[in-house]
Symmetry: C2
Subunit: 346 residues, 2 copies
Amino acid sequence: MRESKKRVAVLSPIAWRTPPRQYGAWETVASNITEGLVARGWDVTLFASRDSVTRAHLHAVVDKGYEEDAAVDPKVAEYLHISEAFEHAGEFDLIHSHYDFMALVFTRLIRTPVLTTIHGFSSPQIMPIYQKYRDGYFVSVSDSDRAAGLNYLATVYNGIDLSLYPFQDRCGEDLVFLGRIHPDKGVHLAIEVARLSGMRLIIAGIVQDEVYFREQIKPHLDDQNILYIGPVDVKGKNELFARAGALLHLNTIPERFGLVLVEANAAGVPVIAMDLGSCREVIKEGETGFLVDNVADAVRALRRIPEIDRRACRSRVQQRFSIDTMVEKYEQVYSTIFDVEARRRS
Amino acid sequence: MRESKKRVAVLSPIAWRTPPRQYGAWETVASNITEGLVARGWDVTLFASRDSVTRAHLHAVVDKGYEEDAAVDPKVAEYLHISEAFEHAGEFDLIHSHYDFMALVFTRLIRTPVLTTIHGFSSPQIMPIYQKYRDGYFVSVSDSDRAAGLNYLATVYNGIDLSLYPFQDRCGEDLVFLGRIHPDKGVHLAIEVARLSGMRLIIAGIVQDEVYFREQIKPHLDDQNILYIGPVDVKGKNELFARAGALLHLNTIPERFGLVLVEANAAGVPVIAMDLGSCREVIKEGETGFLVDNVADAVRALRRIPEIDRRACRSRVQQRFSIDTMVEKYEQVYSTIFDVEARRRS
């Protein structure tokens, strides 16, 4: 049996549809892996919400993402969704989980190996679960976002579907912020940069911290220089990239991966990112953007944007952050797991 | 092998210690079952918080009840606690779960049979999990608190440790409310009864609904006729029972069981309860209290309290709601499960 004919279950989160309509980075990556594996001939079953869109076999027990369905108790939906995948473990050679810490507690109750891609440690309080299950199989999405003591098999960078983000040759005139409206993402710093540089800033994304939005963002909105346009889908992102001279990503805590940085680069948009966490793995200083330490740095970096070759931005994404590159790496990880498991059983 | 030498795991909730220091009905019952089984010669392992007190083997992965430990994420603690029991399933002939719907999703991943005592359906939103696992083994705590379609083996009434609630011959002069301060428990109705009857009311229990307490209870407190004394432990309960002419339990939604009704009766205190849910299974009309439909009924019933023989209250608890009676019933249920399982395997 060729390895690519092994049966893989991909366990996606169910906060949103897979792939999400708008926001939902974990679901996006789970979708990209699923479709990438299918394209490469794997037999894949995607465990996700019923309204998900996939070329894999879809196995669903909840109708919609719980963020899109007020009638559902997220805890109930999660328990049903995760356990369903594990109840079907016998049908798979591998379960590839994207479900945070909750799926780990089921892993010792089945024989099928489980690989967990850790898309980020959502809180220090979840660490006791990772510590207990540290001997499992783990992948980090950046070298910087790792916890000590876990059995990491590799870092596999997230890959995007480049066809969704066509290259745009012409440099736009505005600054763009794209992401959750949350202090972690430094939207307030992006506003400062816009004011100091005299450039227009367009802010897009879901409001995750209402108080932050009300107190630190909304007062600056003026319909002219600082604009908030709500969450955007892929089409909306491309329209933003068309207007973007640069993407501002002044995160205040270490970034775990930063999918939007890659999406912007794919469209040819340079990125100015805070040098925290994974940003220096995703952005190549002086080539696809600039890494900065503060607002003043960011303003200075803006002047150097013309130095960036927009084609180089896209080409780096093609080489390092495509679905194919990601899935190839995952195939190597799967292969390692199959070898380990075969040795264990022999 | 005598059946009583079979190994039983009791999975207790971890909101509180088992048994709880004050409030915590589910943990109380899990404790009573555990200690009752041990007393009758069973080999019992109690899965509960580490500070729990038991004569069984204690297996703990969380230090304290999450309601008593702000550092803990309840979701993380629950996942760790429940999965731990299921990971050790092979060591037991039966797992007796008191853990609401969350434990059910693990049941198909192990071979050990799992009995779930449903202490109440905490929300309609949890029903999809019960429906999926309806073929499991279930016990209801009253005939009234049943959901259609579940595989119930029996109703087993909760039993209490009568030695904790000694009989008090003398009838007190006050009205007592004991329970969560929540609209479901009709504390506001108890206050109305106190005002209409001119009797003093002492209210004890944790505040579960802050707005309700602030708006509908607090304004009536006057340190003289309507008093709130906070949550009480067993000693505090007995002091209250000493002062009680009657316990008022004017629940506004169907009661699931009503442990406090039994505790009051054990001390000889008659109960005036709303005729909703399990109350008519727990209280015998005219013998251990009165069942009422509204406040006016309750005021009328107060006049008939002298008709109640306090010794009859205790004696009914001895017969129907003792730990021994409860554990004997559970032994019959266990026996049924062992028979079913043996047939399945043969």
